[in-house]
C-alpha cells in the first residue's frame, strides 16, 4: 500500500484521502450532478445512497475517471488532480468494482487478476509465477478455484471477488464498490464484508454504494445521500436513524394519507382478479404473494432493489419465475409468457419505457395497435380502418398530443410516450393492469393525468397493481400497499395505515414482518 504520505489528523480522525467539492456534471443539458461534495477518510467505509437517477453512478464515474466533471475539483492526498481516463484514476490509487464484473470472461482467472501488470521473465509472461500468486491471493478472498480456468466458469460471486482482489491489489488508496452484493449469495456477502474490513484495517478508504439498508448499517461509518443530483446530507451513519435516511432519499413532502374516498369493498366471495402465490425469482424475489381485486389499486412499494419490478415481471412471465403460481379470476395461468398473460387479460406497463416498451422507429398508430394486431385482422390482413378507429378513440381518451397518428413515437414527449403505451394495453380491454413506475420521467401535468386515469380505470372495475418508488404516488393512489424488502414482503398497509408515516417505517423496515401464513400476509 502506498500510504507513506498519509498525514495524520487530530484524534483518530485522519485527514481525508480524497475530497471532491462542487462537482457539476450534465448530459445533453440535463444536470446529473449539481455541486456535489464527497470527503473520504482512510480506513472508513463511506456509504453513497440515493434512489434511481439521484446521481450515484455519475459521481462514481467522475471519481474513477470515466466522466470528467463540468465543474468542481478533486483533491487526492491534498493535491488537486484531474483524471482524463479510468487508467489515470487507477494509477493514482482509485480502484473500482462494479455491479457487472468488468473483466475478460474468456481469459483465465490468473490472467484476469494480473491483467495489465503481468509478471514477466526475459520479456515473456511468467505464467507459473502468475498462477501461483493468483492462487495465493484469491485464497485470502475465500476463492478456492483453479486459476488456470477461464473466469466465466466461476460463479458470479467468485468473479466479483476476483475483481475486488484485482482492484485492491493495485495499491489502492480508495476502493469504490458499486452494489457489489447484488448478485452474491449470503455466504459470499460475508466474505466480501471480511475483505472490506480487511481493506479498511489497512487504511484504505472505501466508497460503498448499496440500497440494502442492513448492509449499509453493518459496514459503513459515514454516509452521503444524493437526491436529484444534489448532496442532501452527509455525516456519520450511526447518528442517522433508518427512517430519516429513507426520508432523505425519497425527500418529498409526503402527502400524509390518501385523499381519495375509499372505493367500494370488493365482493369477498368472487375470486380476485389476480392472485399470486409464492413467486420466486432467484436472487430477486422470494415467495411474494398477493391478491388484486376488481376495482382495487394494490400498491407495491420498496426501495431500489427490493424486487418490486421483478415481481411484476414474474407475474406476466417476462421474467422466468423459479416457483409460484398466478391465477386470473380464479383460473391458474399454466403457460407463463407475456403472450399467455395477455390472453388471460393481464398486461404489464414496463418500467423502462425505451428499452421494453416503445418501438422507437414506428409511428404512434403502430405503437398503439402493436399488441392488438391479431384482433384487428381478418385472415392475417390488418384492417387499416379498424386500426384508425382504435387509435382515434384512445388518442382522444388519453389526450395524447401528437401531430398525427403517423408521427414517430420517438418524437413525442415522455408523458405522451407513456400514454401511447397505456393505450397499447387499454385497447386490449384487460382485466388486470400492472403498472411499473407509470409516472417516471414524465412532466408534472402528464403525471397528474396518468394518476387520474389509474383511479378512473380502477373505478371501471380493473384490478391495478401499482409499482412505484414514489412514496407519495403509492399513498395517494393505492387502496392497500404491499412493501417489499430484499424480495420479501415485510409489511402490508391497509385502511388507516395507508399513510406516509407507516410507509416510511415499513420502507426502513422498523416493523416486524407479518406472521407467515404462506401468503406473506398480503391477503386481506
Amino acid at each position: 500500500m502506498a500510504q507513506a504520505e498519509r498525514p495524520g489528523g487530530p484524534a483518530g480522525r485522519p485527514a481525508p484521502v480524497l475530497v471532491a467539492t462542487g462537482i457539476d456534471k450534465g448530459f445533453a443539458g440535463v444536470h446529473a450532478l449539481r455541486g456535489v461534495g464527497l470527503t473520504l477518510r482512510p480506513g472508513r467505509v463511506h456509504a453513497l445512497v440515493g434512489e434511481n437517477g439521484a446521481g450515484k453512478s455519475t459521481l462514481i464515474k467522475v471519481l474513477t475517471g470515466v466522466h470528467r466533471p463540468d465543474a468542481g475539483k478533486l483533491e487526492l492526498g491534498g493535491s488537486e488532480r484531474e483524471f482524463r481516463t479510468p487508467l489515470e484514476a487507477q494509477r493514482a490509487g482509485i480502484a473500482s468494482i462494479h455491479q457487472e464484473v468488468n473483466l475478460v470472461p474468456m481469459m483465465s482467472v490468473a490472467r484476469n487478476l494480473h491483467l495489465g501488470r503481468e509478471p514477466r521473465r526475459r520479456g515473456l509472461l511468467d505464467l507459473r509465477r502468475m498462477n501461483r500468486e493468483a492462487a495465493e491471493v484469491l485464497r485470502r478472498y475465500g476463492v478456492d478455484a483453479d486459476v488456470t480456468r477461464p473466469l466465466r466458469e466461476l460463479g458470479l460471486g467468485a468473479q466479483q471477488m476476483v475483481a475486488l482482489a484485482r482492484a485492491a491489489g493495485v495499491d489502492a488508496e480508495v476502493v469504490v464498490m458499486d452494489e457489489p452484493t447484488s448478485s452474491l449469495e449470503p455466504h459470499e456477502v460475508d466474505t466480501l464484508f471480511a475483505v472490506v474490513r480487511d481493506l479498511t484495517a489497512r487504511g484504505t478508504a472505501v466508497v460503498y454504494v448499496s440500497h440494502r439498508m442492513d448492509e449499509l448499517y453493518a459496514l459503513c461509518q459515514d454516509v452521503t445521500v444524493l437526491r436529484d443530483g444534489r448532496g442532501v446530507h452527509t455525516g456519520p451513519l450511526a447518528d442517522l436513524p433508518r427512517r430519516e435516511l429513507v426520508g432523505l432519499m425519497l425527500g418529498r413532502t409526503l402527502v400524509a394519507a390518501r385523499e381519495r374516498p375509499a372505493r367500494h369493498t370488493p365482493d369477498a366471495d368472487a375470486p380476485p382478479a389476480l392472485r399470486a402465490r409464492g413467486l420466486t425469482v432467484r436472487h430477486r424475489v422470494h415467495g411474494v404473494g398477493f391478491d388484486v381485486h376488481r376495482g382495487e389499486v394494490l400498491g407495491l412499494g420498496g426501495l431500489l432493489g427490493s424486487g418490486r419490478s421483478e415481481t411484476a415481471k414474474a407475474v406476466v412471465g417476462a421474467l422466468g419465475a423459479d416457483a409460484g403460481r398466478v391465477e386470473v379470476d380464479g383460473r391458474e395461468l399454466t403457460r407463463r409468457s407475456p403472450a399467455a398473460a395477455i390472453r388471460a387479460g393481464v398486461v404489464l406497463l414496463p418500467e423502462d419505457r425505451k428499452a421494453e416498451g416503445l418501438l422507437p422507429g414506428r409511428s404512434v398508430r403502430e405503437n398503439i395497435v402493436l399488441a392488438a394486431l391479431p384482433r384487428l385482422s381478418r385472415a392475417g390482413i390488418v384492417s387499416r380502418a379498424r386500426q384508425d378507429e382504435v387509435v382515434e378513440r384512445f388518442v382522444a381518451r388519453l389526450r395524447i398530443k401528437a401531430a398525427s397518428p403517423e408521427q414517430k413515437v420517438a418524437d413525442l414527449s415522455g408523458g405522451n410516450q407513456q400514454k401511447v403505451l397505456l393505450a397499447r394495453w387499454l385497447c386490449l380491454a384487460p382485466k388486470v393492469l400492472l403498472l411499473d413506475e407509470p409516472t417516471r420521467g414524465i412532466d408534472v401535468g402528464a403525471r397528474a393525468e396518468v394518476q387520474a386515469l389509474i383511479d378512473e380505470l380502477a373505478a371501471d372495475g380493473l384490478g391495478v397493481l401499482l409499482v412505484s418508488s414514489d412514496a407519495e404516488e403509492l399513498i395517494a393512489g393505492s387502496d392497500r400497499v404491499l412493501v417489499l424488502k430484499d424480495g420479501t414482503p415485510v409489511d402490508e398497509l391497509t385502511g388507516e395505515r395507508v399513510h406516509a408515516d407507516a410507509l416510511l417505517a415499513a420502507l426502513a423496515h422498523e416493523t416486524r414482518p407479518p406472521a407467515g401464513d404462506g401468503t406473506n400476509g398480503a391477503q386481506r
Binding site: A28, L348, L359, P360, R362, L370, L373, G380
Partner: protein
C-alpha cells in the same frame, strides 16, 4: 462543451439524411438511367433491357427474402448455398417433372431457412453465425449430391421459364414482379408484416407485447430460403445447366447490397420493398454501364464499394442519434 458542437451539426444534417434515405435510391437510379441512355442510346434497345432484367431477377428474389430477414435485425448468408443446393437437386428430380423438382428445391430451401431460423429464435445464435454455418454446410451438401461438375438441364418448361418472355418482358422478371407485390402486401398489410418490423425495432418490447417473436423469426428465414431456392431454379433454367459449384456464389452479398442501397436499415425495424427493387436495379445498372463502357472490372468493384459506403452512411440514422 466543445464536444457538443459536432452533435449539433449532425442534428442539423439529419433532415438531409432523412430525405436521402427516403428517396435517394430512386433519384440515383433515375440519374444513372438517364446517364446510361445519354452515353449510349443503344442502352434502351429491347435486347439490352432484357439482358438486364434476366440478370437482376434472381438477385431481386433473394434480396426480397433478405430484406425481410434484415427487417428483424438479422442477416441471411446462406442464400447462395441454398441456390447451389437447388441447382444440385433439380437435375436429380427433373425426371419426375418440373413441379416435383421445384417442390423439392423449395422444400429444401424452406428446411434450410427453418434450421437457420431455429438457431436464431431458439438457440439465440447470432444470425450471421447461424447462417454462415448453413452457408458452408449447404455448399458441402450440394457438392455431395451433385459431384464437382456442371450438369446440363434439358427440361423444356424450365428452360422456357428461365429464358422466354411474355409481352417482351422475361418470365423471370414477371415472376420477380409478382414476388415484389406479394412481399409488399406481406410487409405492409398483414399482421405478420407489422409484427416483423416490431420485432426488428425492439425485440424486448415485442415480446412483452405478447408478439410471437420466435414464430416471426422462423418464418422470415423460411421465406428467405424458399425465395433463394426459387432464384436457384431461375438461374438453372436461364443457364440451361446446373452448376452448384458456381451458381449463387456471392449472391448473398449482392442481395444485402440491394437491400441496404434500397434504404432498409441493417439495424432492423423497417423493410423497404420498393427500395430494395430500386437498389437491385441500381447495382445492376451500375455494373452494366461500367462494363459496357469498357471500364475494367476491378474499377467496377471499387465503384460498387463506394456506392455501398454511401448507402450505409445514409441509412445510419440510429447510430448518429
Amino acid at each position: 462543451m466543445s464536444a457538443l458542437a459536432p452533435a449539433g451539426a449532425l442534428r442539423g444534417a439529419a433532415p438531409v439524411l432523412r430525405v436521402l434515405r427516403q428517396y435517394g435510391v430512386y433519384a440515383a437510379l433515375a440519374v444513372l438511367f438517364l446517364a446510361a441512355v445519354v452515353l449510349d442510346a443503344g442502352f434502351l434497345s429491347a435486347g439490352n433491357v432484357r439482358i438486364q432484367l434476366f440478370q437482376v431477377a434472381p438477385t431481386l428474389l433473394v434480396a426480397l427474402g433478405m430484406a425481410l430477414v434484415i427487417g428483424t435485425e438479422g442477416i441471411d448468408l446462406s442464400v447462395g448455398a441454398v441456390i447451389a443446393l437447388a441447382a444440385a437437386v433439380i437435375p436429380l428430380y427433373i425426371g419426375w417433372g418440373l413441379p416435383v423438382a421445384l417442390l423439392v428445391a423449395a422444400g429444401l430451401g424452406a428446411l434450410s431457412g427453418l434450421a437457420g431460423g431455429a438457431m436464431v429464435a431458439f438457440a439465440r445464435v447470432q444470425p450471421i453465425v447461424a447462417t454462415l454455418a448453413l452457408m458452408i454446410g449447404l455448399r458441402g451438401v450440394a457438392s455431395l449430391l451433385n459431384g464437382a461438375s456442371a450438369k446440363p438441364v434439358t427440361d423444356g418448361t424450365l428452360l422456357a421459364l428461365g429464358a422466354d418472355a411474355f409481352a417482351g418482358v422475361p418470365l423471370t422478371a414477371w415472376l420477380a414482379a409478382a414476388c415484389v407485390a406479394l412481399t409488399a402486401v406481406l410487409v405492409h398489410r398483414t399482421t405478420f408484416g407489422r409484427q416483423l418490423v416490431a420485432v426488428g425495432d425492439n425485440r424486448r418490447a415485442a415480446r412483452l407485447a405478447g408478439l410471437p417473436v420466435r414464430r416471426v423469426l422462423l418464418t422470415v428465414y423460411l421465406l428467405s430460403g424458399v425465395l433463394a431456392a426459387l432464384a436457384g431454379a431461375l438461374i438453372v433454367g436461364h443457364g440451361a445447366e446446373a452448376d452448384p459449384a458456381n451458381q449463387g456464389r456471392n449472391i448473398e452479398l449482392d442481395a444485402i447490397t440491394a437491400v441496404v442501397v434500397g434504404g432498409t436499415p441493417l439495424a432492423g425495424g423497417s423493410v423497404r420493398v420498393l427500395g430494395t427493387v430500386a437498389g437491385a436495379l441500381f447495382m445492376q445498372l451500375t455494373t452494366a454501364v461500367l462494363t459496357q463502357h469498357d471500364v475494367p472490372g476491378s474499377l467496377t468493384k471499387i465503384v460498387e464499394a463506394a456506392v455501398i459506403c454511401v448507402a450505409v452512411y445514409a441509412s445510419q440514422e440510429r447510430g448518429t442519434r
